[in-house]
Point group: C2
Chain length 337, copies 2
């Protein structure tokens, strides 16, 4: 297996991302193709006592798409960027999967233009894997690929999310919930009302509405479906609530001697929570519904985060996720299999 890593468009320098790619290559025993400036990647490899060869190779490019560039325009104009070159390599099957910590909108736009959608799936969706209070994760789709979704789009997010959870996370008979503002069927806006009908009438394992306040503590479902605007607000607000509380604790701990002592005692607890909740900096979010395995890593990804994003891509390729997804609703029977 060969996985491409775009090392140019993230917030951290390419050498940090090359380090993550090298670690993943050795750990998973796969080849890594680094997309970006030849010289920069080459010297990053040397610094790690690696050299260009089959295991670690370079796809040279002369342009970089920045985080703030308008996605569609950037993809159209910067034809020799690491982001675009990588997608072309994926399209041409030179690699089995693609990982980028770059401009999310540009990756989504480029994926649709260059790699193309899976037949029968109207819009791709970004799935994010979120840890909960229990040790089992929850998948939320879409968290930002689409911001003006029709009910049919959400129906397909459900299909993709459920397939991902079943085949990649290996949760048998996964359940699907619709992100809403109340659990009763009548709650919500016009779009979610229609999505509820579509899901209730379809073959997917839909269990009803879910709400933001109980998702992480009660974990009522395996997959949460929502419009990309809502999902993105959800994801960032979750991060906001957690970071507000962390800041308050930090302020309280440093304010008195007693607080400092308590903070010292609880250091292992805080550190394990921080690790668990750092989903925004680790892992990677698969872009589902396009004709290739694409994982969007967080912009602030460091080497560890890139390594884990490559692992997410590796697992999607391993279980031939896209082939299953292309079967559509017919891939599901009434028992959620």
């Amino acid at each position: 297996m060969r996985i491409l890593v775009d090392v140019m468009g993230g917030d951290l320098p390419p050498r940090e991302l090359v380090k993550g790619g090298v670690a993943a290559g050795h750990k998973l025993n796969i080849d890594i193709l680094f997309s970006g400036e030849q010289g920069v990647i080459s010297s990053a490899l040397s610094a790690l006592h690696e050299h260009e060869g089959n295991r670690f190779s370079i796809l040279p490019s002369s342009q970089i798409i920045a985080m703030t560039e308008p996605p569609v325009q950037a993809v159209r104009v910067k034809k020799d960027s690491s982001l675009v070159n990588g997608l072309v390599a994926l399209k041409e099957h030179a690699v089995d999967a693609y990982v980028s910590p770059g401009n999310t909108g540009a990756v989504v736009a480029g994926a649709v233009f260059i790699v193309g959608r899976i037949a029968g799936i109207p819009r791709p969706g970004i799935a994010v894997i979120i840890p909960t209070v229990s040790d089992r994760e929850i998948v939320v789709i879409d968290v930002g690929a689409n911001v003006d979704c029709s009910p049919e789009h959400l129906l397909h997010f459900a299909l993709m999310g459920a397939t991902y959870v079943r085949d990649v996370l290996r949760i048998a008979k996964p359940t699907i919930g619709l992100l809403n503002i109340g659990t009763e069927r009548a709650k919500g806006n016009k779009v979610v009302h229609r999505v509820y009908e579509l899901l209730a009438d379809g073959p997917l394992p839909f269990v009803g509405n879910v709400e933001g306040h109980h998702l992480l503590t009660e974990r009522p479902v395996d997959v949460v479906v929502c419009d990309g605007f809502i999902g993105n607000v959800f994801l960032k607000t979750l991060e906001g609530g957690i970071s507000a509380m962390s800041t308050m604790i930090k302020n309280g701990v440093t304010k008195s001697l007693r607080g400092k002592f308590g903070g010292l005692m609880l250091r292992p607890v805080f550190s394990s929570i921080r690790k668990k909740l750092a989903y925004n900096r680790s892992g990677g979010a698969p872009l589902l519904g396009v004709n290739g395995s694409i994982v969007i890593a967080h912009g602030r990804s460091d080497a560890v985060a890139i390594e884990s994003a490559i692992d997410v891509a590796y697992r999607a390729v391993e279980c031939k996720l896209n082939e299953t997804m292309a079967k559509g609703m017919s891939g599901w029977d009434e028992n959620g299999r």
Copy 2:
């Protein structure tokens, strides 16, 4: 001043809510009219060594609107409910303000049908006052009165939110932000794009887009404007993030002796944070844009929460908020005054 309290539709028993009303009546030196079952309220007053009179009076009713009832239908059918009777009393100026911990949808629907909208304001909005890491609060509007908003509705939420913050919270030159999924102007869906234009061209003190992850830590603005579906997801997700982290800390603390000891040391810190972040159980959310002062208390409100919701209503009446709001955009000049 006389404020009405609907004591029947909350999650806690009426005697708990009467207790909050009695405390507020004494503290603020105002009259309280309790809406609900005569006998129940009467005995609750007796238990508190109070009696029916000018200070504490009763508006009797024979029906209760439950939390799960479909709002519009409930308001139409249950004409002798504590919720509806209270709104009629507000409409007829028998009271200066109205507080209810009952079915939010029913309060909103009843307010529009019975009390009516302020001329020029197309839709009322629920404003919620949220504590931040700094000691200054932030107001988010709408958090659930409307779930299919047009851009013009959000423009009016901005007007109402800014007026509330300026006149009730007494923040001079308040700033307004639009809840979005990125700070750049081009981010977001069709509705927020249009809202951005309307706000940028208008007289209100608009500063741009804001996101869920930095609102509580950086407090970039005084007022956050959003569609009620989005705002409700925002509010519940914030609660979800905080409660997930609390649960994880609790689990970590109880797992070892060291943890238990650290937890004991940090008890004052945790308790002050809990108090600060319990916005879901305390205070009250003003319903802005209707012809009367209405405050929606949390369904789980106890006596303290009801007392604080009455205080929110009291302050809105004191500063003649609705009269200012009726002046519309003309009440604002380019200096945010």
